[in-house]
């Protein structure tokens, strides 16, 4: 198992309680005044040179938000957020208009280099070893859109994608360049009134990625976005919209990091996916926001609304997530299975350590006939963390022949943490077939002893067992992500065994 | 005299695929017919359609049983008329004791035929007698239908039902699958004991082996949804020697 060994080596190199991505980039930034008002919304819209309709859309969301209250049903506990004490917009201050990658602030580029993000079109994946020990296929190519605080700073491979007809650009650009597409689809999956955090996002989102894959096109490479929060007291509100037109396919990767800080930072993103007839979207996330320190101080509050709409017949949306970061995670990537024969998938690894609190899961809403869904969730709680799976599977009266399979397993490491499972299973017609199973257990002492007797350290043994526990989900990730995720998993569990 | 079973130009679809493309077969009382053929030739489909399993669409042809339109009948009506299918994979029914199941089924058939129900002592005597001849322990009859039964026990349970219900047509679907030679011999002896001038049998099998124990009067070779050759038991032996490949093209 070379990959496991690599993980173990990596763990050894890093001191316990060191967040690898917790460096801060010192650059000038251009911020909106602190606090949230109609003026803030207008400021953001003006900064983005947005058309009037977009400003109206935002203002409507803002007015709606004023009437809403923060949800309390999740099993997360945090001090009240003062929404007036945050910055809602921070952009790296451009010295001049950015025309090419070379003109981007070298400090930012260095940041991404430290993160290991292939911003420049180079083979960053050389030497990567897959979990099976095989070498990576020659030069996997990934197009990257990098979002720094609230602003997209660079998008790569634009020209090649354009040739295939794929639109991949910051959403701020798409609003100006493809208003007809944005108008048609923005808010069509997550309406502006959806929930407190999504509504807030609708009012103040500053950037994010936009993808449109035209009819019949198989996107020639993986698309990827890296989000990084840098500024102090800054909320990050990115908005992603992906549309896969009839018969198209796209795989999209999302990575997140944030610097180490004592105060909590707010992140409230919205992701909307639309799959038309026979289209497929695969959306993978490795979330590694700063989780706070070993006393539970600092860390990102991650309140995210992700939803995919299988709008067309035979469409498919697959969510895969590896959640290891954030102080608070509130996230339920969901699928609306509207088209007949459509399929939704949710594969999740959620790891919590220290004082992290995770409340995550999915919703599978079966509306069309013969729709299928599959949920595989692996929760691992260590330290003093609380880790909750919350999921809804429902088949409506007309969703005849709907099928769901759910397996959610939890692993507890140590006796100060909690692992919880809250599934809602609603069958509203006889031809819907649901199967759900859940288990909670600890790592078997016998297995640990066996490994230790064969010469592994306690920590290596845990790494081995955990990697086995999450294997089904890791296999769903594109290979280069799987390797990264596997490392992250071991790093986040560091210090969890005694 | 009227044939017991007449399958005429039968065409059957499953979802969008046609499995049987005009199959014809006539079985008279007292005859034992073997149907052989490679995997996917449509043998099991034929047995399912005769028994009335849902999910098959008959797009052409007809099946007459004792001169009546079998396809118009529900599966339980067919059973009451005397059609018995010994399943290739008998299902397990947890919570329904075998004894209770046997009595419920037998009385349902008798009731449908307008006959009186069996009295409990008569029923028990009859079951014990048959069970003994098939080497089926009493304790098996108390357990859930086929629950925890070995492959051989499941097949013996099928034959037990055959003996009890006294059907006029028995269709044995791949009775030899999953059985070792000893289990096969017991099962075959059970079947042979039930051969009679009133009863016909259709033995579906991939291998000639079973036909050493249950010797057929007629052998039909199926390929790609049709009967491509018919003969006597010598045909089975010839097949054993030369294989099915010669018929693949003939179809």
């Amino acid at each position: 198992m070379p990959a496991v060994q690599e993980t173990v080596d990596r763990v050894r190199r890093i001191d316990v309680d060191q967040y690898r991505y917790g460096f801060e980039t010192l650059i000038e930034s251009d911020k909106a005044p602190k606090g949230l008002s109609e003026d803030t919304v207008r400021f953001i819209s003006a900064k983005k040179n947005e058309p009037a309709w977009m400003l109206e859309w935002r203002l409507e969301a803002f007015r709606r938000w004023l009437t809403m209250t923060e949800p309390t049903w999740a099993r997360v506990d945090y001090p009240k957020i003062d929404y007036q004490d945050l910055y809602y917009y921070a952009a790296p201050k451009p010295k001049k208009q950015v025309a090419s990658l070379d003109e981007i602030d070298p400090e930012i580029l260095k940041t991404y280099e430290k993160l290991g993000i292939p911003l420049r079109e180079v083979a960053v994946l050389e030497g990567v070893v897959s979990p099976d020990g095989e070498a990576a296929p020659e030069r996997s190519r990934i197009a990257v859109d990098a979002v720094f605080d609230s602003v997209s700073v660079a998008t790569t491979f634009k020209a090649e994608l354009k040739k295939a007809g794929v639109i991949f650009m910051p959403i701020s650009e798409a609003i100006r360049e493809h208003p007809e597409l944005v108008k048609k689809y923005l808010g069509s999956v997550v309406p502006t009134s959806d929930n407190f955090f999504a509504t807030l996002n609708s009012a103040v989102f500053s950037d994010g990625s936009f993808v449109y894959v035209p009819e019949g096109v198989r996107c020639p490479m993986e698309l990827s976005t890296y989000f990084r929060i840098n500024e102090r007291n800054t909320g990050q509100f990115e908005r992603t919209l992906i549309i896969a037109d009839k018969g198209s396919y796209v795989s999209y990767l999302e990575g997140c990091t944030a610097p180490q800080r004592d105060e909590n930072q707010l992140h409230a993103a919205v992701v909307e996916l639309v799959a038309l007839d026979d289209a497929e979207i695969k959306y993978s996330t490795v979330q590694n926001w700063y989780p706070g320190n070993s006393e539970g101080k600092g860390g990102i509050y991650n309140f995210v609304t992700k939803r995919g709409d299988c709008r067309g017949r035979n469409s498919k949306i697959s969510w895969t997530q590896v959640e290891t970061g954030s102080a608070i995670t509130w996230k339920y990537p969901s699928c609306i299975l509207r088209g007949d024969n459509s399929r939704g998938e949710f594969y999740s690894i959620a790891i919590s350590n220290g004082f992290q609190q995770v409340d995550s899961g999915t919703k599978m809403l079966h509306l069309g006939k013969n729709t299928t869904s599959r949920i595989i969730s692996k929760g691992i709680a260590a330290g003093r963390s609380q880790n909750t799976y919350r999921g809804l599977v429902t088949a409506h009266r007309k969703a005849t022949g709907a099928r769901n399979f759910t397996a959610c397993d939890s692993l507890l490491i140590g006796d100060k943490c909690g692992a919880h499972t809250v599934p809602y299973i609603e069958a509203k017609n006889a031809s819907a077939t649901f199967e759900h199973e859940a288990t909670t257990s600890k790592i078997s002492e016998d297995v640990l002893f066996y490994c230790v007797q064969r010469g592994l350290s306690q920590e290596e043994a845990v790494g081995l067992v955990v990697n086995g526990f999450v294997k089904d989900v890791l296999q769903q990730l594109p290979m280069e992500f799987a390797v990264e995720a596997q490392k992250l998993i071991s790093i986040s569990l560091e210090g969890s065994v005694g | 005299m009227m044939a017991l079973l007449e399958v005429k130009d039968l065409q059957v679809r499953v979802e969008d695929r046609e499995i049987l493309h005009g199959l014809t077969l006539t079985v008279n009382q007292g005859e034992v017919h073997a149907i052989m053929g490679p995997n996917g030739s449509g043998k099991s489909t034929l047995s399912h359609v005769i028994a009335g399993k849902p999910g098959y669409e008959v797009t052409g042809g007809e099946i007459l049983f004792k001169g009546e339109d079998l396809l118009a009948m529900a599966p339980d009506e067919r059973a009451a008329k005397g059609v018995f299918l010994a399943f290739q994979y008998p299902v397990e029914i947890a919570g329904v004791a075998t004894m209770n199941f046997l009595r419920t089924a037998l009385n349902a058939q008798r009731k449908a035929r307008g006959e009186s129900e069996f009295s409990t002592p008569d029923f028990l005597r009859k079951v014990r007698e048959v069970a003994k001849s098939l080497n089926i322990p009493q304790d098996m009859l108390k357990r859930g239908v086929n629950v925890g039964f070995s492959g051989g026990e499941k097949k013996r349970n099928e034959i037990l039902q055959m003996a009890l219900f006294e059907p006029s047509l028995c269709i044995l679907d791949e009775m030899d699958s999953g059985l070792d030679i000893d289990a096969l011999r017991i099962a075959a002896d059970g079947v042979n004991a039930l051969r009679s001038p009133e009863r016909a049998m259709v033995v579906i099998t991939h291998y000639q082996r079973l036909l050493n124990y249950i010797v057929p009067d007629f052998v039909h070779v199926m390929s790609r949804g049709r009967v491509v050759k018919s003969g006597d038991k010598e045909l089975a032996l010839a097949l054993e020697a030369s294989g099915y490949a010669q018929f693949e093209d003939a179809a």
Binding site: P423, E437, K442 | D76, F87, A108, F165
Partner: protein
């Protein structure tokens, strides 16, 4: 709603502390109001929609009512048990088998206990740890019930059978009982909810507090067979002591709306809990079983199996939560819910929850929902069973697995017969 309490007040037994407790309980109910779908625990059983209002207290049963109740009692299938009968929320000694009680069994009417003393001890009979609007309402309005004690070490030969008979129309009854099983004792408790002829649209609200002492064994069987248009809300608060066993079987086949909410605490090490729930629902019936199993101490075992057979436009709800407290190591908790939907308009909602704070545990749950297995149905039909008969046999087997958990032969047969009646009415 204040009228409800004010109008009933003169008929509610107990002065002093008891009256104060009732007052506080009613205020708590008024603050919350009837539970609705935004209250997480009542998400699938919205009483504001299903019940709309709490009806006035049923009148004290008169001679005619008692005669109708007597006729209903004569129809009960369970005979070999010592009966304790409550009619429209009032304990009726003359229908009860007080003379035939075995040694070590004590029975008092709740009304007597409350009236005798307005003391704190009496008031405590109306107080439980669980907070729920319907339990508060019960505490405020309880007219009667039975307070049963089984002495330490007593091993009862006959089951005790608490029978709730409704005779009134468009009225409410509120009963509260206490059942205490002494250390090392063994007992069987049966509860039945039945309607007398002509009892229509009544509402029953029952609360039962059960304590199973260390090393004791209690087998509990509930049969809810209320009138078609009745509402039954029952709350049970159970505590199981060290090395004690509780075996609960609940079968709901009656009532327009019914809910059993059980709060079970495994309070002593080495205790074992087995719960088997069955909902047999048709028409527009709504049946809800909500159980919270709290593993408060280490080394306890819990097994819960919920089965629902849902026909027509009926709605079955199962919510089960297993809680494992931080110190409750070596907990073994498993839960299974299985819903069988017989009609395209039937609905089954399941919420099996795990809430786990200790690491050395083995916990899990499973849930399935679907129609009868087509392969099994075909096999049976190929053996000559008509469609409905084949369905009935499979349903019977499905339900039978739950009923098998009843050790007492006579009782098990009586419960199976009740299930078969339901099935026959369907065919």
């Amino acid at each position: 709603m204040s009228n409800l309490f004010a109008a009933a007040r003169d008929r509610l037994p107990g002065k002093g502390k008891v009256a104060d407790t009732r007052q506080q309980a009613f205020e708590a109910f008024e603050r919350a109001g009837l539970p609705h779908r935004r209250i997480e625990e009542w998400k699938y059983t919205d009483l504001r929609a299903l019940m709309r209002e709490v009806k006035g207290l049923a009148p004290r049963p008169d001679t005619t009512a008692l005669a109708r109740a007597k006729a209903a009692l004569a129809r009960l299938a369970i005979r070999d048990a010592a009966r304790l009968v409550l009619v429209d929320g009032i304990f009726v000694p003359e229908f009860s088998d007080l003379a035939g009680l075995e040694a070590g069994v004590s029975v008092q009417a709740l009304r007597e206990v409350l009236e005798d003393a307005g003391s704190q001890a009496a008031a405590d009979l109306l107080t439980v740890s669980a907070t729920d609007a319907m339990i508060s309402l019960n505490a405020a309005m309880a007219t009667d019930g039975v307070v049963v004690g089984i002495a330490d070490g007593a091993a009862l030969a006959r089951p005790l059978h608490i029978v709730h008979v409704a005779t009134a129309g468009s009225a409410s009854s509120f009963t509260r009982s206490q059942f205490t099983v002494g250390k090392g004792a063994r007992a069987t408790l049966v509860e039945s909810f039945v309607a007398a002829d002509g009892a229509r649209a009544y509402q029953a609200n029952d609360a039962l507090v059960i304590t199973v002492g260390d090393g004791a064994e209690l087998s509990q069987v509930r049969l809810v067979a209320d009138a078609d248009d009745a509402i039954n809300i029952t709350s049970q608060i159970l505590s199981v002591g060290a090395k004690a066993k509780l075996n609960l079987v609940n079968m709901t086949s009656g009532g327009a709306v019914s809910r059993l909410q059980g709060f079970i605490t495994l309070a002593g090490q080495g205790s074992e809990l087995a719960v088997n729930g069955v909902n047999l629902l048709k028409g527009t019936q709504h049946g809800d079983t909500t159980l919270v199993v709290d593993h408060a101490v280490p080394n306890c075992t819990s097994r819960e199996v919920f089965r629902a057979v849902v026909d027509d436009r009926a709605h079955s709800v199962f919510q089960g939560r297993i809680i494992v407290r931080p110190d409750a190591q070596k907990t073994d908790g498993k839960m299974m819910t299985r819903a069988l939907l017989l009609s395209d308009e039937a609905e089954a909602d399941n919420k099996p929850e795990l809430e786990i704070f200790a690491d050395d545990v083995s916990c899990g749950h499973g849930a399935t929902s679907g129609a009868l297995d087509d392969d099994l149905l075909f096999y049976l039909r190929a053996r000559g069973l008509p469609e409905k008969a084949a369905q009935a046999l499979l349903i019977q087997a499905f339900v039978g697995e739950a009923i098998e958990a009843i050790a007492d032969d006579g009782l098990r047969e009586a419960v199976m017969a009740a299930a078969e009646n339901w099935l026959e009415a369907r065919v």
